[in-house]
Amino acid sequence: MLLIPCPWCGPRAQVEFTYGGDATVKRPAIDAPVDAWAAFVYQRDNPAGPHDELWFHGAGCRQWFRVRRDTRTHEILDSAPPAGNSP
């Protein structure tokens, strides 16, 4: 069981959370070429190592936040609220 440090509620059990995927993908500009949109929708770096990802604390404060987690060991290295939205 992962113990996920919610920036608002503190460490809570994994079952309270929903995974939101890679936090590094950025929506391209509306007039960006189609390749940029295809990469945004489909391509992922999928690193073996530290991975920045989104989690949702559905059974707690119902906030989205970022977690940095090592995909090789499941060790959680850091968590933080989305930029510009401190607790």
């Binding site: 069981m1 992962l2 994994q14 079952v15 929903t18 995974y19 995927g21 890679d22 189609v34 390749d35 295809a38 990469a39 929708v41 489909y42 391509q43 992922r44 770096d45 999928n46 073996a48 991975h51 990802e53 987690r69 995909t71 090789r72 060991t73 499941h74």
Partner: protein, 429 residues
């Protein structure tokens, strides 16, 4: 044994009742090794990365169907130590969309004759795969998929609840069951295959055709010259080749990134577990899409079961307890009598989860580079067709009609093959 000057073809000892009897007279001390372990040669006509079922099958069919002999399979660990040895051994071709249906049906047809083809008993058991129906919506989906299968020439039967209760007495088919069984879609030719035997059988048959199988040889880099594959750097040195095939599902993104390619794939851990062995209690593979659970009984008597992914990116080859708890609770809701059994082992494997739930079998955008991967949950049952079609694509330089739809480019073109309609959320397929 040869010290590996390579393509020294050995006469293969055919496995049969006669060779068994002959070797019994010498107390089974005279059996030769099933395959050689040569050091790598400096150059091969084709190199396959990944010594699991898919890579070994690719090498076997390259040699058998396309006449290549100077082939190497590189494996970072030991043969079949990845997903080939970590799955729940289920084979089936009960898909709705045409590309998947025809692809997996080729695979099932190859499974049916594989023991004879390889002269190695892979223990294909056509015990049937039954998908349970728990709701009117499930019923509609099962009827639609069953009819699609039959239109594609694939066996499918709908079983009513009382017929299921008769065939599978352990299953709770009572009206007050937590998940009432309204019926089920059965593929009679689906079943199980002994997973380790698949790696060993393909390895032995490929070796007999001159393929060099090199274990403890991890690829650390892919060399590209003038836009074409030049070879691979490995922990046993540089190996030159102009045809490189990746069969490394779970790690496809890592290998493709060595060639500068980003794939529409995330790696996720999928767990499975077995109970203590008991006498024959379940002679069919039973699955439930509603609770996402599947179970069968191995020939050793263990009940083998699994369920959902762990739902977050992972390269750890192990998972966490919430999923195990979910699988066990689903099992007990469907099969209350299994509550007395103890869980003996749990383990995890890595799935290449693609953005549409379907695999990528074909060329990558570097000349001479191909892959077979992106299997999501479906890699083991795909093994023979994956190898057959990957070999075809490597040898001919173009895809076969049966893997022409499984391109990398389909995502950018919007031609995804999304069996479940889940969209580009890889862990939802």
């Amino acid at each position: 044994m040869s010290n590996g000057a390579g393509a020294t073809r050995r006469p293969r000892v055919k496995y049969s009742i006669f060779s068994l009897a002959r070797n019994a007279l010498s107390h089974h001390e005279g059996w030769p090794r099933a395959w050689r372990s040569p050091p790598p040669k400096p150059r091969y006509d084709a190199v396959i990365v990944g010594g699991g079922g898919h890579g070994l099958a690719t090498a076997y069919y390259l040699a058998k169907e396309h006449g290549l002999v100077n082939i190497a399979v590189l494996e970072k660990g030991y043969l079949g130590g990845g997903n080939t040895g970590r799955n729940t051994t289920i084979v089936r071709s009960n898909y709705h969309l045409d590309p998947n249906a025809h692809f997996y049906e080729l695979s099932l047809k190859l499974w049916e004759g594989l023991s004879q083809d390889l002269n190695f008993n892979v223990m294909y058991s056509a015990r049937g795969v039954l998908n349970l129906v728990h709701s009117p919506a499930d019923m509609d989906a099962a009827m639609r998929r069953g009819n699609a299968m039959r239109l594609n020439g694939i066996d499918a039967e709908f079983l009513a609840s009382d017929e299921i209760a008769r065939r599978i007495p352990n299953l709770d088919c009572s009206p007050d069951a937590r998940f009432p069984v309204l019926g089920g879609l059965l593929q009679p030719r689906g079943g199980t295959v002994r997973h380790d035997a698949v790696a060993w059988g393909y390895a032995r048959a490929a070796d007999a055709r001159g393929v060099d199988i090199i274990q403890q040889c991890e690829v650390t880099g892919i060399r590209i010259e003038n836009g074409a594959i030049a070879g691979v750097d490995t922990t046993q040195g540089f190996i030159a080749t102009s045809k490189l095939g990746l069969a490394v599902a779970g790690n496809s993104s890592r290998l493709a990134s060595m060639a500068g390619i980003t794939l529409p794939i995330e790696s996720h851990a999928l767990q499975a577990l077995v109970t203590e062995p008991v006498k024959p209690a379940l002679d069919t593979v039973v699955t439930s899409g509603a609770v996402h659970f599947y179970i069968s009984q191995s020939d050793r008597g263990e009940l083998v079961m699994g369920g959902d992914l762990d739902f977050c990116n992972s390269y750890a080859q192990r998972g966490n307890l919430p999923v195990i708890e979910h699988v066990v609770s689903a099992c007990l809701a469907l099969f209350p009598s299994f509550g007395r059994l103890k869980v003996m082992r749990t383990w995890g494997g890595l799935c290449d989860m693609t953005m549409d739930g379907s695999p990528i079998v074909g060329a990558l955008p570097v000349k001479g580079l191909t892959m077979t991967g992106g299997w999501c949950y479906g890699g083991f049952k795909a093994t023979p067709a994956s190898g057959w079609l990957h070999a075809y694509t490597m040898a001919r330089g173009e895809p076969h009609p049966l893997n022409a739809a499984f391109t990398l480019e389909r995502f950018a073109r919007g031609e995804t093959i999304d069996e479940k309609g889940a969209g580009p959320t890889p862990w939802a397929h």
